[in-house]
């Protein structure tokens, strides 16, 4: 499965678990903090993705980056994808 799809599925799952109403499919331009998830929601999303993908880009990055849109978030995962 593509990283984008995995992130999208997990994102919607965390939204449901946290009782977030606006669970429409996010676009690349969706502002993360307007998606309904708060800091704790994002921390859970990143931890859950680490279980699935095997890495946490936010702990791997030497120059810290904080994503603002859903597209930024996906790009960070693409960028830190371990090379096979």
């Amino acid at each position: 499965m593509k990283i984008d799809t995995i992130i999208r599925t997990t994102f919607l799952e965390i939204c449901r678990e946290n009782g977030v109403q606006s669970t429409s499919n996010p676009t690349r331009e969706t502002i993360l903090l307007q998606s309904g998830l708060d800091s704790l929601g994002f921390a859970i999303l990143v931890a859950r993705l680490e279980e699935i993908l095997g890495y946490d880009p936010f702990l791997l990055m030497t120059e810290p980056v904080y994503p603002q849109t859903f597209g930024d978030f996906v790009d960070i995962y693409e960028q830190f994808k371990p090379t096979e």
């Binding site: 859950r48 702990l59 810290p64």
Partner: protein, 457 residues
């Protein structure tokens, strides 16, 4: 009174309200000494007052009226339930309550009216130089490791100990208020702004972070204090980098290197300070070199009125050189005989730097909220399918830590298996959201340490 520590004839902005309205020390002095305020003050003079307001603007004004007038001011967080407020009020001997809550009567304490509005035409008081007769005691709730906070009594001297009083540096600084003024962290920002010769921008209550930051940018906010978790959120907010920040302060959680570096990169002209403050010791110190932890040289001599040492067990201990704060209603002294207070924080020295490892109690700090692993384990164990449970912390780049649970399930003869999401729902209905394990792993075995206890490492 606070205003007596400020040049009351000055026309510089002191408090900046959501509508952009600025009030100078001179205007505020007219308000606090007008006949209408005198009448209000006469009802609370010498009393033990409880303050329970949602509106930070109202609290900011009332602090000016209450200090030196009330015998004791107890700050009651307005987000608590009436029965918790009743218990806290009785613990602090509150005689009269000032509140903007519609259900304030349910707290069961006689209510004082709200002070006169700023918009009113003031009458000149006959008694302009009303003397401050009381060294008001300020009682604040702790930031809540449990659902019912403890009350700690302070004086303005103990609260303002860390305030940098340099009017020349303070002039031109505008602090944005991101905390509730009912809490320790909010009061610290308030005192730093007012006594440090700066201005304080008070955002609209309940506004979104994005709107608050936009209002701060518009009002020329150049100093902000927030937890590392809130700072990460600020960096995730579009246009946050437009804030013309000169002073950045982090506190309430351990500041890790990535957030310190990210802030330095996003706000290159800002001075980044992380503050270590201990509720137990009622004091703290600050680090300004942009690196996590603090220099080991801090362990020698006196630092900002505090002595530091590391106990043989690796716990940081502090000794305030100004005493004064104590838990209300408890006789147990906060300090050892030699005056040192255990902070409960485990530390390690590496390359002449002291690093924080976590709470000695094993408490997990999730975005500033402390989680007791034993409490979460007991809820997990109350689920009929769970045989053993171990709760640990996992590092998070966003909230510092997260709660992780590993579980051994009871053998089920029918072969039906309980799922992690069922366990999560069980926890969600019984725990605060930050206490619910972010990850739940079903395992075959759990490690025990030499004393037969669950290993938390």
């Amino acid at each position: 009174m606070f205003l007596h520590d400020i040049e009351i004839t000055s026309d510089r902005p002191l408090l900046i309200f959501p509508e952009g309205e600025c009030l100078s020390p001179r205007e505020l002095n007219v308000w606090t000494t007008c006949a209408e305020s005198e009448i209000w003050i006469s009802q609370i003079r010498g009393a033990r007052v409880g303050l329970c307001c949602k509106d930070n603007g109202l609290i900011a004004l009332m602090f000016l009226l209450l200090d030196g007038i009330a015998a004791r001011v107890t700050l009651l967080p307005s987000d608590l339930a009436p029965e918790t407020l009743t218990a806290l009020s009785s613990g602090s001997g509150v005689e009269i309550l000032v509140s903007d809550r519609p259900d304030a009567a349910a707290i069961g304490i006689p209510l004082a009216p709200l002070p006169p509005p700023l918009s009113a035409q003031f009458s000149i008081s006959a008694n302009i130089t009303a003397p401050s007769t009381f060294n008001t005691e300020w009682v604040l709730p702790t930031s809540g490791t449990t659902r019912t906070p403890k009350l700690v009594a302070h004086t303005i001297n103990t609260l303002a100990r860390t305030v940098k009083r340099d009017p020349q540096k303070g002039a031109g600084i505008r602090w944005g208020l991101l905390y509730d003024l009912n809490r320790f962290a909010g009061l610290q920002v308030y005192l730093q702004a007012l006594l440090g010769g700066a201005a304080l921008i008070i955002p609209r209550s309940g506004a979104s972070l994005e709107d608050t930051l936009a209002a701060f940018t518009a009002a020329g906010c150049n100093a902000l204090s927030a937890t590392p978790t809130l700072w990460r959120k600020i960096l995730m907010t579009p246009r946050s980098k437009e804030l013309p920040l000169r002073l950045i302060t982090l506190g309430g959680e351990i500041a890790d290197q990535s957030i310190l570096s990210a802030l330095a990169a996003s706000f290159p002209s800002a001075r980044v300070t992380h503050i270590y403050a201990s509720t137990e010791a009622g004091v703290g110190f600050s680090v300004t070199d942009g690196q996590e932890g603090f220099p080991a040289t801090f362990l020698q001599g006196t630092l900002n009125g505090v002595n530091l040492r590391i106990s043989p067990e690796g716990i940081l201990e502090l000794r305030p050189t100004v005493g004064g704060q104590h838990y209300l209603g408890e006789n147990s002294p906060l300090a050892h005989e030699d005056g040192f207070v255990s902070t409960g924080d485990r530390v390690r020295i590496k390359n002449d730097r002291v690093y924080f490892l976590g709470r000695d109690s094993g408490a997990i700090n999730v975005g500033g909220n402390k989680v007791q692993p034993e409490k979460v384990e007991s809820i997990l164990l109350s689920h009929p399918a769970v045989a053993m449970a171990s709760v640990t912390a996992k590092r998070s780049g966003i909230t510092g830590s997260l709660v992780v649970a590993r579980l051994i399930l009871h053998p089920n003869p029918t072969g039906a298996k309980v799922t992690p999401s069922e366990i999560r729902e069980w926890c969600s209905s019984r725990l605060d959201r930050f206490e619910v394990p972010a990850l739940i792993r079903i395992v075959a075995d759990l490690e025990l340490n030499a004393s037969g206890k669950l290993s938390r490492n």
